[in-house]
């Protein structure tokens, strides 16, 4: 069964602790911010290591270009900016100066998805996975909890390379008991089940977990996997788990186009593993106004969205 989960720290706070710990021994660890120190939770870092934080002002294109230059000179660079701006305003710098030029920058898209809720579409990033998955030489990670966050950050620190790491704002529960349970690039199997396979990433993992619990309570056997990484993409685990399920549901804080659901669906189709599939994500239209929770509920990225989808898929 799916046990109740403990609360973690906000992922960015956890990230900041890791970076502070690592910066003590590593003068090459740098952060670049575009007036996003506070929202990126790195004010403390900037006070402890003023030399290691470069502020560029509200200039996302410049922040990515400067980061590329720093990285080319041997710095390990974490570029922090809201995901909506980092993936769109500076898309060309990400594509050319980081990925194509192979400068090992970790781009941290914060307050991504619909974290900004009622602030509206200008601040939402429900396009970033679609846009950045089309860029070669860029790992794309969406950690859900503290332990996935730790695994992703450690992976960059051990082997710096171009990466986009997507963070939200919510304080997430802990889906693992330590970072040792998370292997970089491998799907996290949180529950085994034979009727429905639920696949989720980032903050959509919480409603996915609740939905799996709800299905189990109804007597429907639900498998659940968390994908902290879409590139690299753990095809093997997805194919294995999908093969032993009757239908698949994906959940993500993104457009229905070009995100987790699209990627999973095309994988299954290409491997001729035909399963009914439901992509729970945001439709390609102007979203209603509301908080992140409101929007998740409104568009069925929720436990009730899962139970409704499962009923239809298994009919």
């Amino acid at each position: 069964m799916l046990p109740p989960l403990k609360k973690g720290l906000p992922n960015l706070e956890y990230m900041a602790q890791i970076l502070i710990n690592r910066a003590k021994d590593d003068p090459n660890l740098m952060i670049v911010t575009s007036d996003s120190r506070g929202s990126g939770r790195v004010t403390g870092f900037s006070e402890q290591f003023p030399q290691q934080l470069i502020e560029v002002g509200i200039a996302e294109q410049n922040s990515v270009g400067i980061s590329a230059g720093l990285a080319s000179c041997g710095k390990k660079v974490f570029t922090i900016s809201p995901g909506s701006f980092l993936s769109a305003r500076s898309f060309e710098q990400v594509k050319n100066d980081v990925a194509y030029s192979n400068n090992p920058v970790a781009l941290l898209g914060i307050s991504s998805g619909v974290s900004y809720g009622g602030l509206g579409a200008t601040h939402h990033s429900i396009h970033d996975i679609a846009a950045l998955m089309a860029v070669p030489n860029l790992d794309l990670c969406i950690p859900a909890d503290n332990f996935e966050t730790e695994t992703v950050l450690e992976s960059y620190l051990q082997y710096p390379r171009p990466m986009y790491i997507r963070f939200g704002k919510k304080t997430m529960p802990l889906f693992y008991s330590s970072a040792n349970e998370v292997t970089f690039g491998k799907a996290g199997i949180l529950h085994q089940g034979s009727d429905i396979l639920i696949i989720a990433c980032g903050e959509a993992l919480q409603p996915a977990y609740e939905g799996a619990a709800a299905l189990e309570a109804e007597g429907i056997s639900a498998g659940l996997i968390s994908l902290h990484s879409l590139r690299p993409f753990d095809k093997t685990t997805i194919l294995d788990m999908a093969a032993s399920a009757k239908a698949v549901i994906t959940l993500e804080e993104h457009s229905i186009y070009g995100g987790l659901g699209s990627i999973v669906a095309s994988l299954l189709m290409e491997r001729r593993l035909f399963r009914p599939i439901k992509i729970l994500a945001f439709p390609n239209e102007d979203l209603v106004t509301g908080s992140q929770t409101d929007l998740f509920d409104h568009y069925g990225i929720s436990a009730s969205g899962i139970t409704a989808a499962a009923a239809e898929l298994l009919r």
Binding site: Q61, N62, I66, S67, G69, L70, C73, Q93, N96, D97
Partner: protein
């Protein structure tokens, strides 16, 4: 005293650039020719780079923000041994390792460029790293004048002054033409010197096709302690070939066989006049 060798090299590079363009049947001819003297002086007299030193953290950095002038860069990188000669004969062709804009697949290219308005930010990052690490390398960044309409250039300029990067030398290839015509008709840049000064650069203007003048100005950097330098290099688009000079249509024109032969005759005459 005039540096005769540099003048001869400029002719050689122009010739090689035209050969690269005609072999590829593509290239940004006018802008290649305008900046060749700048590249010549940098690579032969100023930059402490060499093919076997591209991993040396103390080397100078050269970032070509105006990636369109790839053929000029390839001509110099080929002659200086950074790039195999056979590559220069196949730029942009099927399965060639070399594209029509600079790529890091070539050992001598610091950064892949081509989308305009990117180079100065990267150069700022390199210059900040140099300051932090107490290294005394300089970072040179060549921009076209047309690309100055990109807002990112001015974001980078603000940062260059804010971080007092006197190890950064920005260069503008001011040939006054872009693909659609005069820069002042397309999107006026003037007063350019004053604009860069207002953004915190120490600016010097120079004849960008005079190798002696370029050498003197590059030997004088930084122009002011605590400030980034900007070399405003007044150049001629299509420089060195009579029928190309100051003609916007040669922005990416490829010479015919007859035109190529005429250019080669002009180079020969120029060489003899030296």
């Amino acid at each position: 005293m005039s540096d005769q060798e540099l003048k001869e090299k400029s002719i050689f590079y122009r010739e090689l650039t035209l050969k690269i363009i005609t072999a590829a049947n593509a290239g940004h001819t006018g802008g290649d020719l305008s900046c060749i003297d700048i590249l010549n002086v940098l690579y032969n007299r100023i930059l402490n780079v060499a093919p076997d030193r591209m991993n040396d953290p103390n080397r100078d950095r050269y970032v070509q923000s105006k990636g369109h002038a790839a053929e000029a860069l390839y001509a110099i990188l080929t002659e200086r041994g950074f790039m195999p000669e056979s590559w220069s004969e196949r730029v942009g062709l099927y399965l060639s390792p070399v594209a029509g804009h600079p790529t890091r697949k070539i050992a001598g290219v610091e950064q892949s460029t081509g989308a305009l308005g990117h180079g100065l930010s990267i150069a700022v990052g390199m210059a900040i790293a140099g300051k932090l690490d107490n290294r005394n390398y300089r970072v040179f960044c060549l921009m076209g004048d047309g690309e100055l309409a990109e807002g990112s250039i001015w974001e980078a300029s603000m940062a260059a002054a804010h971080y007092q990067l006197d190890n950064l030398i920005a260069i503008v290839d001011r040939n006054r033409l872009q693909i659609s015509g005069s820069t002042e008709d397309v999107m006026s840049l003037e007063p350019l010197k004053e604009k860069f000064e207002a953004f915190g650069f120490s600016v010097r203007e120079v004849d960008g096709n005079d190798t002696d003048a370029l050498l003197a100005v590059f030997q004088a950097v930084p122009f002011e302690k605590g400030k980034p330098s900007l070399v405003l290099a007044n150049t001629i688009k299509g420089k060195g070939i009579s029928y190309m000079e100051n003609q916007a249509k040669w922005h990416h024109g490829v010479p015919s066989e007859d035109q190529l032969q005429q250019a080669l005759r002009e180079f020969k005459a120029e060489r003899e006049a030296l």
